[in-house]
């Protein structure tokens, strides 16, 4: 029996490890509410609803959320020992299997929480943005499950990269609106969704997909995702008799990262490692306004974007750079303010893994453990390969999502490279 088993729902929601940012949305110098005035009343209303329903379990919100996560979502997800990887790296490697959550990624934890909250608030419509499509898919599923109309904004470029997820969203009854401004990726989709919200705040809730945006989104999304570390911590104690030495998670906006870290932040013996997309290089082409990576924790500077002060990939004037990653789910120029704060405090170590190492991680986990990871997740396994000697004896890696959505991209990227361990497809001339 772990120490957390005896806590009530209310005590769990009010865990001290999650107090950061709840008071005023500030994490040291990061966070805040930098949004157009038209959105401020909606944000005040959401803050009030977050405090009442999520923190104080008014009307049994948290109980219903947990029940739906179990019955509809399939929680808890397992903490599985990865035998081949453990042997390869000569230490115990455990996988938190968020890829087994309904929809195939951790995203459902947050989407279900927010759509349910919107319902409790009396909202009539859901909007969301998506990059890789996982958040849009999770929101579309949650909206269908809870019978709410839903519109998802998605960059035109991402639509072309992630057609299966577009189809899934439409299957679930959501409208998918292409965003053609800029480069047509996640940051443009976020801006477009904020514009929709500015016009429709009175009856619409914007389901932000990560721990980014104005307060209360960073704390609220963290609280919904913290179920990952809550389970992982209990499961680690039950299975191994103690805490892990290291917890590893990939980081784009940071929702799976913070969800995986939240319950371990106060466990000072546990090293927390956020693995960012190093892209093709960590060098930046300031003149072209392009960062060929998405490593804003590792390489970004403080600034204000999409409602919060945080670490950003930006030029010296403050214009936001176009980011890059082999994984469209990590392709974002900012990161959650709480992670930026924890990095400054030295509690979280940011590391960058490049496209090549991530792709090798994708193939390695697939061939050694029978788990095809999302390309986002594959970055964490690229880190494991490169840095396992620096880690302790018991490592937990969050498998944030499954790789079905990424097969087209993985085939295309594999064809460009000589990837160690990749399948030889040359004899299959008919194509797949």
């Amino acid at each position: 029996m772990s120490e957390t088993d005896t806590r009530t729902t209310e005590e769990t929601a009010r865990r001290p490890g999650r107090e950061r940012g709840r008071e005023d949305g500030k994490f040291g110098r990061y966070g805040g509410q930098y949004v157009p005035e038209a959105l401020m009343p909606a944000i005040s209303e959401l803050t009030d609803a977050y405090e009442r329903y999520v923190l104080d379990n008014e009307d049994g919100f948290v109980d219903e959320f947990r029940e739906r996560l179990a019955d509809f979502g399939g929680r808890p997800t397992p903490l599985q020992r990865a035998d081949r990887l453990s042997e390869r790296y000569d230490r115990d490697v455990y996988l938190k299997r968020e890829d087994l959550l309904h929809g195939g990624a951790h995203k459902l934890n947050n989407a279900l929480g927010q759509v349910l909250l919107a319902k409790y608030m009396g909202k009539e419509r859901i909007i969301a943005e998506t990059g890789a499509g996982q958040h849009g898919t999770a929101t579309a599923m949650a909206a269908a499950h809870l019978d709410m109309p839903c519109t998802v904004y998605m960059g035109e470029r991402d639509i072309n990269r992630q057609r299966p997820n577009v189809f899934r969203m439409k299957l679930n009854g959501s409208e998918v609106k292409p965003v053609t401004t800029g480069r047509g990726t996640l940051k443009e989709a976020i801006s477009e969704t904020m514009r929709d919200w500015a016009e429709t705040v009175e009856d619409t809730h914007y389901v932000i997909g990560s721990i980014v945006g104005p307060h209360p989104f960073p704390v609220m999304v963290r609280d919904f995702q913290a179920i990952i570390s809550e389970e992982a911590r209990e499961q680690a104690i039950e299975k191994t008799g103690g805490l892990p030495t290291d917890v590893v998670a990939c980081a784009g906006g940071g929702s799976n990262t913070m969800g995986t870290f939240a319950e371990f932040v106060d466990d000072e013996s546990v090293a927390l490692r956020a693995v960012e997309a190093g892209g093709s290089t960590l060098e930046v082409d300031e003149e072209a306004g392009v960062a060929p990576n998405s490593a804003s924790l590792y390489a970004g500077d403080e600034g204000v974007l999409h409602g919060a002060r945080t670490k950003l990939l930006q030029d010296s004037d403050g214009q936001i750079m176009e980011s890059h990653s082999i994984s469209s789910g990590l392709d974002y120029a900012g990161v959650g303010p709480e992670l930026a704060y924890l990095v400054d405090e030295g509690r979280v170590e940011p590391v960058a893994v490049d496209d090549d190492a991530a792709l090798e991680g994708f193939h390695r986990l697939s061939s050694t453990e029978g788990i095809i990871p999302a390309l986002e997740t594959a970055h964490a396994f690229g880190f494991l390969e490169e840095h396992h000697e620096e880690l302790g004896e018991r490592v937990v890696v969050n498998v944030s999502g499954r790789g079905d959505k990424d097969l087209d991209a993985a085939i295309e990227e594999t064809d460009k490279r000589d990837v160690d361990g990749a399948p030889d497809m040359s004899m299959f001339t008919g194509g797949i």
């Binding site: 509410q33 401020m40 705040v201 936001i320």
Partner: protein, 298 residues
């Protein structure tokens, strides 16, 4: 109000009759044409001119202005070039810079980062260098749509130090404590958002405007209404309804966009802008006269 008299030029613009406040993106579609366009608005009767300094993620703007911001960025606009652009203008109207907080906050950060790397301290610049440079360039005020009053203290202090007004936007949904907090920080004029949503020309004038002006009646600061005003008739109705000024952006930016897409001569586009500015200014004056006459007859 924080310090309603920071800029005498803006105070003067609202002192005698309604103020016409046009908006254009500086450097749209290029700096030379843009200079001619801004000066045309001045000839057409502008009292205050809002100049957009483009940011890559303009979340408060609709598509018309967003595309203008992209044209300007593509033509090479930067904060330093913006200030040089403002210095080179030959206009009587007071100039206000409208931009997003990251640009204000980052200005001068390159030097600060170099210094902080040398000293080992965290880089921290804040808004002061931007405001100091804006003041030197002849800018009289700032509008920063993604900076709520709660986060505005550093910028408010810098604006007071250098004599700039800090204009805040009040939305149809702004009420109670939030309204008080904004009005405690505003100076120059308050930007009354005529309806919910983002910027963009509309065919009608929202009823939300009347309600917003009613809530603001007790505050002693000029009220300029923007979002959706595109004709002299709109301007007349807005001012007749109690506004002290009208702000017009997208309808003017549309003229610039048409000039850019059809490759029209700069002088022709400038003439169109001047004519539309005059129509809007005259509309505002008609509205003011009808309001004054109504008051006198009562």
């Amino acid at each position: 109000m924080a310090d309603a008299d920071n800029s005498e030029a803006i105070a003067a613009a609202f002192a005698d009759g309604p103020a016409f406040v046009p908006y254009l993106v500086a450097g749209d579609p290029d700096e030379s044409a843009s200079t001619a366009y801004v000066e045309a608005l001045d000839r057409g009767g502008a009292d205050v001119i809002e100049l957009g300094l483009p940011f890559s993620e303009p979340i408060a703007e609709g598509s018309t202005i967003q595309e203008a911001l992209v044209r300007s960025l593509d033509a090479g606009m930067t904060p330093d070039r913006f200030f040089a652009f403002a210095e080179g203008l030959d206009v009587d109207a007071a100039l206000v810079c409208m931009t997003y907080y990251n640009l204000v906050y980052q200005y001068g950060s390159g030097e600060a980062r170099s210094a902080s790397n040398a000293s080992g301290d965290a880089a921290s610049t804040g808004p002061r260098p931007f405001v100091e440079r804006a003041a030197a360039a002849g800018i009289e005020g700032l509008v920063v749509p993604d900076l709520p009053a709660e986060e505005a203290d550093p910028l408010r202090e810098a604006c007071d130090e250098f004599g700039l007004d800090l204009v805040f936007i009040v939305a149809p949904t702004t009420r109670g404590d939030r309204l008080d907090r904004i009005m405690a920080n505003v100076s120059g004029y308050v930007y009354v958002q005529a309806r919910l949503g983002t910027t963009g020309a509309r065919d009608d004038v929202s009823d939300q405007t009347t309600a917003s002006l009613g809530r603001l009646r007790e505050y002693d600061v000029p009220k300029a209404v923007g979002f959706g005003i595109s004709t002299g008739d709109h301007a007349e109705r807005i001012v007749a309804g109690g506004a002290d000024g009208v702000i017009v952006g997208s309808a003017l930016v549309d003229v610039v966009a048409e000039g850019a897409s059809e490759d029209l001569p700069t002088a022709e586009v400038a003439d169109r802008l001047e004519a539309l500015a005059r129509e809007l200014k005259e509309g505002a004056e008609r509205g003011y006269r009808s309001r004054t006459e109504t008051v006198e007859s009562a």
